[in-house]
Symmetry: C2
Subunit: 529 residues, 2 copies
C-alpha cells in the first residue's frame, strides 16, 4: 500500500472567468476515482459556517473490472477512467475552483500496475492522493462524525473495490480496515452469471461463506461494542432508496434512514429473484447499479443478521464529504454542534427576516420553559422547538400564501443533519402548523406513532404559534413574558413598552390549540414595562 | 356618491425600528375596508421591477350588516370595523411602511351615516379614500390588465356590498357600474334562513329574479362583446377553490383558473343543499364565508348561464392590487409585458447564477430556431421555452439533489401571471425534465390532453436539455451553433474557442430524447471559432 501523505496542498485551479472576491463563497472540488464510479463534486463553502453541494458529475468507469484475476488494471478500464478524468479536468479548468482534492481508493491502491494510470493523471495535473485503507476508513468516519449526532459507531463503507469497517468512538476514528469485499469484486468472483439468470441459493451461500471467512473475525468486536452500524456508499444508499419505495416511506431522505431487517430481507429476495434486466423495474434502484446490487444486498443482509442489530443507519455523506471536511475545518475537523450547524445551513439558503426569526426563537423557548410544568417535555424537544422556530418562515421564499406549507416542503427536501427522521417529521409539522389549524400527524403517522407524539406535537406547536403571534408585528415588542398557571386557566403576562395590540389580538386566536395542548384556558394580560 | 379624489398622498408611516436605505425594497401597505372583510396587505416592491405580498391581516367585520334595512351602518358593525382598523393602525405603526393606501368600498359609500365611521378613522389617521363605483371598477380592471394577458374582458367583482361590472378594452378601463348585489346584501335580503335549513328553490328563484331585474339590462352588452368574463373577489375565489377540490385539479393555483359551467352547476347544488354548518365540510370552502357563499354561487351560476359563456376566468388579483399598481407604476399604470415581468418576479426570489441562466436561455432559443423546420412550433411555445430556461435552476435553492423536481414545485407554487394553467403545467414539466428522463405529462395529463401536447413537451424539453448540457461547465463556452438537418440525422456544429469537452460529452447523452422529439439521430461536431 502507498502510505498516505499530508493533505494535498491547496490545489487552486482558477477558471478563466473566475475572479473570486473576499465575500464570495469558496468553491472546493472533490474528485473521487473509485473502483466502480468516478465522481467530481463541487461544494460551495462560506468560511466554516456552511457548505453545500452545488454540482456533481458522475461517470461509471468500472476501474476495478477484472482486477481480481491478475491484480492489474485492464487497459480498457484505464481508458475509461482516464476519459472520465480528462472530462473532470476540462470541467474544473472551465468553471474554476478555489481548491481541489483528488483521491483514489481501492482499485488504484490494489493494482500492481497503478503507475499506468497514475502517470497519465500526473501529466494531466490530477494525480490523486491514493488513500490507504486506514485513511479511506478515517475519511468515512469524519463524514459520520460531522453529519450525525452519533458519538460511537461502526462505520461500514462498501464501494466497488473494497469494504471499510471502522470504529468511531467519541466522534473520533479509532481504527479501521479495508477488506476486498467491494460489490464489483464480489460480483465478478461469485455472481458473474446474474445477467442471464437469477442468483441461485448456492451462489448466495458462496458469497456468504466468503464474507464469513473474510469478515468473521471482525464480527466479534462488532458484537462486543453494540454501537449502531452506520453504512455508506452508493450500494447501500440504493438499497435504502428501494426499501423506502417498497415501504411507501413518508420522507424522501436517505441520510439518517434506518433500514430495518424485515424490509432488507424482503428487498434482497426481490433483487436476487430477478435477472439484472428485470431489476431495472424495481422502483428506487438505479439502472447502472443493477448488476452489482445483488452482491451489496447479500453483504448487508449478512451483516445485519450476524451483527445482532435490528437496523442499519444510512449515511448520505461519505469519503468525499470526509475529504472536504478535513480540508475545511481545522483539526480535529469536527463541527461543534452538528444540529445547530445544519439549521444554520438550511436557514442560510432562504432570505429571512433575521430579527423576527430571532424573536420567535426567543419567545418560543421562553414559553416552553414557562409551561414546563404542564408539558413535561425534554431538552431534545426544546431543541426541536428552537429549530422549528428558526426555520418557520423559510417558505416565504416561495410565496406568502401557504408559506407554512411551502416551508414544510423545503425543510423535508433539504433534510437536517443530526436529526432523526421522526424529528424531521416533527419539525416539518411544526412549520406546517405554525400559523393555523389543529396539527395532525397526517402522512407522518408511521414515523410518529405514539399517542404521546401527538401530545408533543400539540404542545410544541402551541408554543411556536403563540410565539409567532406574539411577534405578529415582527418588531420584537414583547420584551418578556410570564405564565401564571392555575388549575383551569393559564394567564400569560406580557411586558412591553407600548400595548401590543396586534400581538394580543392574534394570540387570543390560539386559545383552542393551547387548551388542547395544556388543558387550560389561555388568558392574556399586558403589563407596561 | 363621494367623488374620488386624486390618489392619496404618499402616506409614509415609518416604524420605530425602520430605517429604509436606498437599496432596500420599499414596503407599501394597502388597507381595504370592505363590506364583508377588512384587510391589510403589505407588498414589498423593488422599484417597478417586481412586487410581492409579504404580509396580510384579515378581519371579518361585516360592516354592511343590516345596511339594507335603513341605509345606515349599525353601531355594532361600526365597532367591529373600527376595532379592525385600530388593529391595522397598530400593525402599520409598529412595522413601519414606506407608503400606505387606505380605501373603502360599498358599505361606506352607500351608508347615510358614513361620517360615524369616517370621523373616527380620520382621528386615527386612517381616513380612507372612499371609492365610488367607477373607481372601484377601474381598480379591478387595473389588476386584470397587469396580471393577465387578456386585452379585452368583462371584469366582475363581487364583494360583500356591491358587484362591479366593468368593460376593459385594449387593457384599459372603458366603463363600469356598481350594483347593490354583494353577497352579504343578497344573503340578508333573500337567504336569511339558510343558517337553519338549506336554500329552497323558491329562494333561489327570488335571488335570480332580483339579479335579472338589476343586471338584466347589462347582459345585452355582455352578449354583444363576447370577451371573457374575468371574476374577482373572495367569494368567487372560494367557489373556484371548492370546484378545484371537487375536480382534483392538478394545480394549486386560483389565479387564471377557468371555472367551467358543469363544475359550477354541481358545486352550486352541493352548497345550496346544505345548511351553513354543513357547508363547512365541503373541502376548499372557507369557514367564515359559509353563510354568504350561497348568494355568490347563485350569482355566478346565473351569470354564466345568461351570458352564453362556457367559463369564468378567476383573477386572484383585485382592488387591492389595483390600488398598489396605480401607485407603483406611472400612468397609464401598465406593466409592459406581464409574462416577462412575472418570470423576472419569480426568478428574483431565488439566488441563481445569472450568467449561466442567460446562456441557457440564449442557447435554448437558438436551438428552437434552428430546429424550427422539424418541430414547427409557434411563438407562444418559444416564449414558454424562454421562461422555462430562465427558471430552470430555481430548485437549486432547495438542494442540488433533485433540484429539477424542487424547481418544478417552486414554479407551481409561485404561479406565473399572464400564463394559462396549461402553460404553467408545461413550464413545470420542462423544469422537471431539464436534466434527465423522458418527459411524461403525469398528473398534468388533464391539462395537457392532446397528443400534440406530448410532442410539444418532447420538443421543448429536448431544446432546453440540450441547451443546459451545452452550458454544462456554466461558463458560456459555446459561442454559436448551427444545425445541419438531413433526413435521418441532425448534425449540430458548435463554435467555441476551446474544445468544449464536457459540453459535448453531456450533450451526447441527450440523443434519445432528441430522437424521440425530432425523429433524427443527433450528431455533434466542434468547430474552433
Amino acid at each position: 500500500m502507498i502510505e498516505s501523505s499530508e493533505p494535498l496542498a491547496a490545489a487552486v485551479v482558477p477558471g478563466d472567468q473566475r475572479a473570486p472576491t473576499a465575500d464570495e463563497a469558496r468553491r472546493i472540488g472533490v474528485i473521487d476515482l473509485g473502483s466502480n464510479t468516478a465522481r467530481l463534486v463541487v461544494f460551495e463553502c462560506n468560511g466554516t459556517s456552511s457548505y453545500r453541494m452545488v454540482d456533481s458529475v458522475r461517470e461509471r468507469v468500472r476501474l476495478a473490472e477484472g482486477l481480481n484475476q491478475d491484480g492489474t488494471l485492464k487497459p480498457a478500464a484505464i481508458s475509461r477512467a482516464l476519459a472520465a478524468m480528462e472530462l473532470f479536468h476540462d470541467f474544473v479548468m472551465a468553471v474554476g475552483l478555489d481548491g481541489l482534492e483528488v483521491i483514489a481508493t481501492s482499485a488504484v491502491r490494489d493494482a500492481a500496475n497503478r503507475e499506468e494510470i497514475l502517470g497519465p493523471l500526473r501529466e494531466l495535473g490530477l494525480e490523486p492522493r491514493v488513500l490507504d485503507g486506514h485513511l479511506e476508513a478515517a475519511y468515512g468516519v469524519l463524514a459520520v462524525a460531522n453529519t450525525s449526532c452519533v458519538d460511537n459507531a461502526w462505520v461500514i463503507d462498501q464501494g466497488g473495490g473494497s469494504l471499510q469497517l471502522s470504529l468511531m468512538e467519541h466522534r473520533t476514528y479509532q481504527h479501521g480496515e479495508a477488506f476486498q469485499l467491494g460489490t464489483l469484486r464480489l460480483t465478478e468472483a461469485f455472481l458473474a452469471s446474474e445477467h442471464t439468470r437469477p442468483v441461485t441459493p448456492a451462489q448466495v451461500r458462496e458469497v456468504e461463506n466468503h464474507l464469513e471467512k473474510t469478515l468473521g473475525p471482525a464480527l466479534e468486536a462488532l458484537r462486543q461494542k453494540p454501537y449502531p452500524l452506520v453504512c455508506m456508499g452508493g450500494t447501500v444508499r440504493n438499497l435504502a432508496s428501494a426499501a423506502q419505495h417498497q415501504q411507501q416511506y413518508p420522507l424522501n431522505l436517505l441520510h439518517g434512514y434506518r433500514l430495518r431487517q424485515q424490509p432488507l430481507e424482503q428487498l434482497t429476495r426481490l433483487v436476487l429473484q430477478r435477472t439484472v434486466n428485470e431489476r431495472q423495474a424495481l422502483p428506487g434502484l438505479s439502472t447502472d447499479r443493477a448488476d452489482v446490487i445483488g452482491a451489496g444486498a447479500i453483504t448487508f443482509r449478512w451483516l445485519l443478521r450476524k451483527s445482532q442489530r435490528k437496523e442499519l443507519v444510512i449515511s448520505g455523506a461519505g469519503v468525499r464529504e470526509g475529504a472536504l471536511l478535513r480540508r475545511l475545518l481545522p483539526a480535529p475537523h469536527l463541527i461543534e454542534d452538528v444540529r445547530r450547524f445544519s439549521i444554520g445551513n438550511v436557514a442560510s439558503h432562504y432570505p429571512q427576516p433575521v430579527v423576527h426569526t430571532e424573536n420567535v426563537v426567543r419567545l418560543a423557548l421562553q414559553l416552553f420553559d414557562q409551561l414546563q410544568p404542564l408539558h413535561g417535555l425534554a431538552a431534545a424537544d426544546r431543541l426541536l422547538l428552537e429549530a422549528a422556530a428558526g426555520l418557520h418562515d423559510i417558505g416565504m421564499a416561495v410565496s406568502y400564501y401557504r408559506h407554512h406549507r411551502h416551508g414544510a416542503f423545503l425543510l423535508e427536501a433539504a433534510g437536517l443533519d443530526g436529526f432523526e427522521h421522526h424529528e424531521i417529521a416533527m419539525l416539518s409539522l411544526l412549520v406546517r402548523y405554525h400559523r393555523k389549524s389543529i396539527p395532525s400527524r397526517g402522512a407522518f403517522a408511521t414515523l410518529l406513532a405514539g399517542e404521546e407524539d401527538e401530545r408533543r406535537l400539540w404542545s410544541l406547536a402551541a408554543c411556536l404559534r403563540l410565539a409567532e403571534h406574539l411577534e405578529r408585528s415582527r418588531t420584537g415588542r414583547i420584551g418578556d413574558l410570564e405564565f401564571k398557571i392555575a388549575d383551569d386557566v393559564a394567564t400569560l403576562h406580557l411586558k412591553s413598552k407600548v400595548p401590543p395590540t396586534v400581538e394580543i389580538w392574534e394570540a387570543r386566536k390560539d386559545a383552542e390549540l393551547f387548551e388542547l395542548a395544556f388543558e387550560r384556558k389561555l388568558e392574556i394580560q399586558h403589563r407596561p414595562s
